[in-house]
Subunit: 457 residues, 2 copies
Amino acid sequence: MTNDQDIVVIGCGAGGGTAAQFARKTDRKSTITIFEKGKYPQYSKCGLPYVLSGEISNAINLIEFSEEWFKKANIDLLTETTVEKIDIKNKLIYAKRANKIIEKSFNKLIICTGAKPFIPSIENINIEGIYTVRSIDDVNNISEYSKNVKNATIIGAGLIGLEIADNLQKKGLKITIIEALPNILSNNLDEDMIKHVFEKIPDDIIVYTDHIVEKVKDKENKITKVIIKDKKTNEKKPIDTDILIIAAGTKPDTMIARSIGCKTGTTGGILVNDKSETTVKDIYAVGDCTEYVDFVTKKPLRVGLGSIVVRQAIAAGINAAGGNYRLPQGFLNTCTSELFNIEIASVGPSSNKIDKEFSVITTRFSGSSIPEYFPGGKPIAIKILVDEYTGMIMGAQAVGEKAAKRINTFACAILARFDVDTLRKLETAYAPPIAPTLDAETLVCDMAFMKIARKKR
Amino acid sequence: MTNDQDIVVIGCGAGGGTAAQFARKTDRKSTITIFEKGKYPQYSKCGLPYVLSGEISNAINLIEFSEEWFKKANIDLLTETTVEKIDIKNKLIYAKRANKIIEKSFNKLIICTGAKPFIPSIENINIEGIYTVRSIDDVNNISEYSKNVKNATIIGAGLIGLEIADNLQKKGLKITIIEALPNILSNNLDEDMIKHVFEKIPDDIIVYTDHIVEKVKDKENKITKVIIKDKKTNEKKPIDTDILIIAAGTKPDTMIARSIGCKTGTTGGILVNDKSETTVKDIYAVGDCTEYVDFVTKKPLRVGLGSIVVRQAIAAGINAAGGNYRLPQGFLNTCTSELFNIEIASVGPSSNKIDKEFSVITTRFSGSSIPEYFPGGKPIAIKILVDEYTGMIMGAQAVGEKAAKRINTFACAILARFDVDTLRKLETAYAPPIAPTLDAETLVCDMAFMKIARKKR
């Protein structure tokens, strides 16, 4: 490195905070400033649902790096500071803090503006008792409001919607979930895998798929009911609702980036490359506001996972500070959650995200986590998606015992561009209390290999 | 395939049974005969220690494939049948069953004669109360003999010795372990990782490392004491012993193979290649009686893990029946166990097995299984061995939460010949109740990468 940098980071979520941290690790002398519009330093957004059940006792515990931490790292963190304007020609940024305008120069800028919750068009939505779950304040407000209520309705049965449902149910609320798509979790799992999760949903959680919320009703400006509509039959139905939580996805917040000429992609996110660079020189972007590439399909991929955000941030931070760090040529979207006491995980696209140009063979295996003769085995189901012509593994989904760590092995195999023949021969760790000699990962690959071999005959 | 084969398998352990099974899957018409000298069909040897504690309630439960199963698969299983002689020129095998000699022709032979326990030279060893743990009869005999005894001594603190110790202690016996080497588990883990296991050993299990058993004492032909000797000081000490169990390793049983000209290697095992072929045409060998190659060091590797045996057996069975199945160019020795309620796992050679020709950098990370802010995290320690010049991962060791499944990912990375830079960029599955954004696997690779980068400066 020849020159120390003057780095500004917009946003102190997992993306901004991590980028600043890795910029500092790369160069001790660069000036690093973070503008964060909220009042908290870096905290875990993914932990928010678990505050609702009390499993995480206080939302403040989610703060992973305190203001003191940033101070000690010689990173200038300004919270409650909103970026107003960027003069890209002169590399000046104007931000507002306590009604004062701050002018700050930079030579490297890292944009981590995240995403805003998508709010479906619903009549009468500006009443009390309607929330999204994107911040510490959100969950504190929900916890306060839901203290004396009984019926919660959740819009959205994706990972986050279901995490919220699971946690609110643990707290004793009666839950109804409204999902516009024909199935829950359809971003993550194939239908035949989803059923393993569906059957774990407690009886007192009611799920309406293929339904939308048309309007909300109130009494003295507080929500009392939602009116849902069956998308197929147009039939309408009222659902008693004391609190409504919207988890219907997000939209990338790209306003600042577009104002300085950064291009966005087809998903709406800021286009970034393997160095987390945008299309504008010296400007990096990281996280939920960005679009990169799917490693397997090479199609545009909107970033939405904490694990990806952090990896992009490492690249942005190191590169902005003068280092050289390249990400793989696409993201795997390795993903996990625990829902209704069952672990789910996936990597690569699900079947509905793969274009017709690929000829995909799917194979599913269900078995026990340990040999049959050993007591205490737990169910594990694994499904893999394999390219028929090359035998290459394109995706994997797991539901059950140690699903996440199993999926990590598939992620490694996809990154290595392994075919099923290679992966079925991998020696997996075996011991009677832990795993069978041929683990579910091996058997599902072996089955896929046989299926392809039969097709070729 | 043009001709159906006449296949004979010697031994119906995991190796022989699996080989026969895959031969049958490959060709429905081949004749398949198994000669097994013991009285049981295929059972899990690795499950034997867990019969001692009662965790597996009856040794008979270890039988994975019954005589009826083999019958249905049209595999001719002859138990209590000992192979006496092979006429390799005329491809005839002579076996003894109930004092009758059976003559059987073959055109493919699969040798799965396994290994015999190594018995150290000890004075007065032919008395009652001394056992090894290699068969269903062994554990039944131990269970019977140990009913009214108090003090058990175990020779050997490898995986199996410790599994036996753990299980006998659960049954209430007072345990002393005698190990000739300076440490426990020295075949599997490096010293700094072993300490995580050592500290879990209950206080009432006494371990003497660097000690050998010199003689045993008896009363009325039943063992009462062992006399141990400190290898460094030569000091001797009596240990009250009502039952002595020898778990001091094994010797490959190669007698039959050598009688027909199969070459053995430097470890004493029958030399086999990636198709499980011996040096003699049409003769295959599988399992504890064989020697293959270490994938990482390319040095000879004596086979001793159930997971490897089964994979060799798949190759032998398929190839003997006319198929074509090749194993990877060496074994990874992926290995796991649960000892004293902690999971350990490893892949690749430990530091003491790597020659000076390699320049190895080791890196260790200890942390929590989940983010700090989430309750219920459990400790995990991972150590990796990396080639300094290429950055390639040569081995990994893990102790703690989900150690085995983590090690599977390293196994996949080693098979893919990944360097630490590639593996540290792998997207691992993240969710607060399951794993941090940067899991122990990622962090230990990142640390190793930095260590190498600093060295190169």
